[in-house]
């Protein structure tokens, strides 16, 4: 049949590229210099040293940030101790809760500013900082605020007491969100805090200090000391700190355990991972492909619970891998502030070098590498989405945490085999399973020795949902009631 309507014939380019859609930076306020936040005031570091916080997407300096020495950490801990004894632990819990609600609200009001700064400082796509990091941070404060005056209901048969001063050391992959995970439950249960943000991403924590000032929180309840690992070490070793909460590498976590041995300090550790993401032949294939992309390329793979070990049932492995490759071609790598960007910058030069080392090892070990053909910007730290096939359990890339956008793929035949392989690791943080069969999700969830199992999804977080690892992935949980338990003594 011939259509009589005129078909408009206009020349359309077959090579349609999206225009850049950068989020503007004109509404954010950043100082050129940030001091330490101690006892409610921004305070110059005693030794007067500062370091640069660099934008990893273009290697420019964003701001100078104070480096806290031993004396500064002492001062912050003392401020926290005073605030704990004199103000915070005595305060009516419902009033404590209201302060935390204030913080939640102030973050919500300034979501856009925080998102832009998070992306500038850490390199993550604005879409993620805007839609995930910052709203979730606010939600954590909101959730724990409500617990402050309900602690008597939290743990059956027991009442709670706060622990005291909590020293909290957080990583660079979710800077504000990790600060929220740590600070919110600590404050709700009556503790005071000295927080040490990561060296490469201190800015949103310092902006949070401004919010804490705006919320009129009593001085010393939250103190923020910036610096490198040595600042963290002062905090861990400080005799007046009653509790250490750390998120970061298993290696540093182990050194913290050793440093705390023989002391009476409590600790919570959220460490590395090498999660198995398991795709069964009865999985919704296209949905699973999206899920795999999200499990490993979310936040450039800088996620401790990333699904970095993919196990595909042999019968669907060809299809999955080919769909995965073509989906990877559609991922847009580039300016973190561009709203179209899927893959942002690698957080730091050091991290990029580590990822590069693993890529070299993978190639040397004879595995087949595939990288999407995106253009890599000239400046900044970047790594194209990468996958390796022809892998086995004995490859180092399968065993070690890479913390980058690098997926290693193995195939399996039976459910027992894949469970054995998934558990054949010192880690146990998370895992994923894709199948149309609900009973199979529960079976995998029951048998995988890990703290969080995602069925037909991956990398989902919620303030009400406990998160944390088995084995070398850590101790204790964050989120939900379990998260509260880490900051109280029961009696």
């Amino acid at each position: 049949m011939v259509s009589k309507t005129n078909i408009r014939k206009k020349k359309v380019s077959t090579n349609w590229e999206y225009s850049a859609a950068p989020e503007s930076t004109d509404h954010i306020s950043l100082k050129s210099n940030y001091d330490l936040f101690i006892a409610g005031k921004f305070t110059k570091p005693k030794e007067g040293t500062y370091f640069n916080s660099i934008n990893p997407a273009n290697e420019t300096n964003i701001a100078k940030v104070a480096s806290a020495g031993k004396a500064d950490v002492n001062k912050a801990v003392s401020a926290a101790k005073v605030a704990y004894e004199n103000v915070w632990k005595k305060m009516d819990p419902s009033q404590r809760g209201k302060y935390i609600y204030r913080i939640a609200r102030l973050i919500q009001e300034r979501v856009r500013e925080f998102a832009v700064i998070e992306s500038l400082d850490g390199g993550k796509p604005i879409r993620e900082s805007r839609d995930i990091d910052i709203p979730l941070a606010a939600a954590h404060f909101f959730y724990y605020a409500g617990w402050a005056d309900k602690l008597d209901y939290a743990f059956p048969g027991r009442k709670t007491k706060p622990i005291g001063v909590a020293g909290q050391i957080i990583p660079w992959n979710f800077p504000l969100l990790m600060a929220a995970w740590k600070i919110a439950p600590a404050l709700a249960s009556g503790n005071t805090v000295v927080l040490k943000p990561a060296e490469t991403t201190p800015l949103t924590a310092l902006k949070l200090a401004e919010i804490i000032q705006d919320a009129d929180l009593p001085p010393g309840v939250v103190n923020i000391v910036t610096g490198d690992g040595s600042t963290g070490k002062y905090l861990v070793d400080h005799p007046k700190v009653d509790k250490i909460a750390f998120t970061g590498s298993t290696e540093v976590g182990k050194s913290i355990i050793q440093a705390l041995a023989g002391s009476s300090k409590k600790y919570t550790l959220e460490l590395g991972g090498k999660a198995a993401n398991i795709i069964f032949e009865d999985a919704p294939i296209d949905q699973a492909v999206e899920g795999i992309i999200n499990s490993i390329f979310f936040n450039q793979g800088h996620v401790c619970c990333a699904g970095s070990r993919l196990y595909v049932q042999e019968s669907v492995s060809k299809e999955i891998i080919s769909k995965l490759k073509s989906r990877m071609e559609n991922l847009i790598l580039g300016d973190p502030l561009d709203k179209n960007t899927d893959i942002g910058a690698i957080n730091s030069k050091t991290q990029l070098e580590k990822i590069q080392m693993y890529l070299d090892i993978g190639v040397d070990e004879g595995s087949t590498i595939y990288q999407s053909t995106c253009t890599i910007p000239k400046k900044g730290y970047w790594c194209a989405p990468t996958l390796f096939t022809d892998m086995s359990q004995s490859h180092r890339l399968v065993q070690e945490e890479i913390f980058g956008p690098v997926l290693v793929i193995q195939t399996f035949r039976t459910i027992d085999e894949v469970i054995a392989k998934a558990n054949n690791t010192p880690y146990g943080l998370s895992g994923g399973v894709w199948t149309d069969k609900g009973s199979k999700i529960f079976k995998i969830s029951k048998d995988i020795r890990a703290g969080v199992i995602w069925g037909n999804t991956f990398n989902k977080f919620d303030p009400t949902s406990p998160f944390g690892g088995y084995k070398e992935s850590g101790m204790g949980r964050e989120g939900g009631l379990e998260g509260l338990l880490q900051y109280v003594n029961l009696y």
């Binding site: 004879g366 359990q393 004995s394 490859h395 399968v398 035949r413 558990n423 010192p426």
Partner: protein, 260 residues
Amino acid sequence: MILSMIDLTTLEGKDSPGKVKQLCYKAAHLHDQHPGLPTVAAICVYPNMVPVAKVALAGTNIKIASVATAFPSGMTTLSAKLKEVRFVVDAGAEEVDMVISRGKFLSGDLEFVGDEIYQVKNACGAAKLKVILETGELVTLDNVRRASDLAMNAGADFIKTSTGKINPCATPAVVLTMLEAVRDHYVQTGHRIGMKPAGGISTAKQGIQYLVMVRETLGQAWLTPDLFRFGASSLANDVLMQIIKQNQGNYQSSDYFSLD
């Protein structure tokens, strides 16, 4: 020493190219966190997996062994067996693990059994022939001794206890009997025949017990992968765990050692 004598084995109905490739990698990289370890001697697979292993092991010194002759029962015609042997050798197997016809053996037809081994040996060409007696079905040590002599005289390069499919597999008594047969064969003919206990050897301790047995019965000359092998799938990791224990002082967990 044990590691370099292992024939890393996967003989399951559910073997697939993926599984075999993964095992081949493990064979060459037992535990990369601990540099300086040897590779295993060989990997042992079913005939249809030989081409996969050939590609996966290219560039390594690891040999490919394949079971042939209607493993594990051996219940087919001689011509089918010979065809299978020629296939695996053509596909790149450097070692062939055959099973003897136990039914014929037990009914006294030793000539048939011997002739079969002889013909398989011819079909092997340059490939080494390991003859599996399946001692669990021969029942008595007298039978084991008789079958050992028969196999060696018919051209076996190695004699091997078991398929791993019948219990009991390798036991110290059976292995000692076979080692004595190997010793006597050497004394009589001057030929050194190899020995391969297989099945049920999963700990370093058992491994060492067998090595001691070899050393005491046959002497140091046999303590080489050319003349002594273990057929095992999980022995390697236990040996690795003991090695790391020796170095670090504390006992190890299988979570830290790759399955394959």
